[in-house]
Symmetry: C2
DNA sequence: CGGAAGATTGACGGGCGTCAACCATCGTGG
DNA sequence: CCACGATGGTTGACGCCCGTCAATCTTCCG
């Protein structure tokens, strides 16, 4: 069940029953289960499917000749890996499982069937693609301009809010199943420094992080630390004029 | 005349006469001319057009509350600013002119007319969009994992190859109309350090940079310095099976 | 219970930022 | 044609943020 994807797309616009059924049907084909640290797709491969994450976390990454690794983005449940990838002949990066991952392999034909018949879903997938691009741009800002403290705080804010958008938070806490090495590879920091900065955030009461559970007692405070502006996530139902149930645009005054 | 865009799209697939005419017609509407350092669109604005750069350079950027600026990407002639932006309600970043810029404002209707009638162009614009995303990912890697020297060398390699793809290089040199402050804002380095690294590259004979002219006597050598792998630019006519003149897929022999 | 993966700590050093001064270049107007 | 101011480039001094290395501790899982 792609409930996380549906929930995410409904951050953009409300879907009708048929839209949801089509998504369920599309996501039920070709289920896959990969173990932690396995590669789902490798740089140089020919893209054959769109992968829809159903459970677990994965990441895009690149490894340089000198062995250093950069995590380019995180995938969580509800995320689609490259919905329009078929135009390219060859992957320029790898996608690997962080935790055990359950995902659906969606064929090109199934994607076309879905989008041909469900224009509202098509628009919502467009929105998803554009938000993904916006996240990538924000990572550029994060790596280029923020200090280690701001950078990690920013990443934690983003991940928490994205998890909340797919229904995977529990009050002010969520599961964060990544190692400090992963956080370092994503933020361009060494694992040692990640450790120190996390302790600093803990000492300041900005976060609690124990086991794989992250708690953010005061999200606004953490956003202030991070210079975090959530506008790039475009989460305020921007496509409400497309709502399946014909919501009236203006609010009564 | 959008000759740079046409030339770029033909890195992906060859276009027919009608395709090119449609592009010319689309680009001839609503010409604009902005001075250096003027904003073309600001964070918070509602996107109304797709901007096609005809002459000059621009950039995407964000400014943080603390005043620091990150250049998120460079736009050069032939580049489209956000071909699918209409799905979003509000810009999450700004676009500013670096040099005086001549560009075409393409309306939503004009974009739809173009893509409805010219599927080969549509595919090529898709490819352009995906390459733009790939560039953004590579910038993430650049900022996260490369040293200042590698980082600047990588940026120069990328810009040179992109300029070459639109016909704006002259042998081993090109115009690079950006200041060292701009290079710093794009690479997350201070202008002072940019200056030192450029001198290091000059001293090693890897580049010549005088006035606004960049010369790269040995591009492969600079790529080695930069840990540069051009695969993310997807420039080897990946859509050749769509060629307007029906090129046969296999090569003889 | 044992081994591996992950987290933590300390010592040390270097890459790169900051500050501040000075030089070079260029467009503009008198 | 040159003066001049603004913008951009260059240099040096200084120091801190964060990387590296290496040891140790904790957690987890079979």
């Amino acid at each position: 069940m792609p409930q996380h994807l549906i929930r995410k797309l409904e951050q953009f616009t409300r879907l009708c029953h048929e839209d949801r059924c089509a998504l369920v049907e599309t996501a039920n084909q070709r289920p896959r289960l990969y173990g932690a640290h396995q590669d789902i797709i490798r740089e140089g491969d020919t893209p054959e499917h769109v992968n829809l994450i159903l459970d677990g976390w994965a990441c895009r990454y690149k490894t340089l000749e000198n062995g250093r690794r950069q995590i380019i983005s995180f995938f969580m449940p509800g995320d689609l890996c490259d919905p329009h990838i078929f135009v390219l002949r060859e992957m320029d990066h790898s996608i690997g499982a962080i935790t055990p991952v359950r995902f659906a392999e969606i064929s090109r034909a199934a994607m076309m069937r879905l989008t041909d018949r469900h224009p509202r879903v098509t628009r919502a997938l467009w929105w998803e693609t554009l938000v993904t691009a916006a996240i990538q741009r924000e990572w550029t800002v994060n790596l280029g301009q923020r200090t280690a403290l701001e950078r990690l705080a920013h990443l934690l804010c983003e991940l928490f809010i994205r998890l909340r958008a797919v229904g995977l938070t529990d009050g002010d806490s969520c599961l964060l199943p990544v190692t400090q090495v992963d956080l370092g590879d994503a933020t361009g920091l060494s694992n040692v420094h990640v450790n120190r900065v996390l302790q600093e955030l803990r000492a300041a009461g900005q976060i609690a992080l124990k086991g794989k559970r992250l708690t953010i007692p005061d999200l606004e405070a953490l956003q202030d630390v991070a210079l975090f502006n959530p506008n790039y996530l475009h989460l305020d139902r921007e496509g409400r004029h497309l709502d399946a149930n014909q919501t009236v645009e203006h609010t009564p005054g």
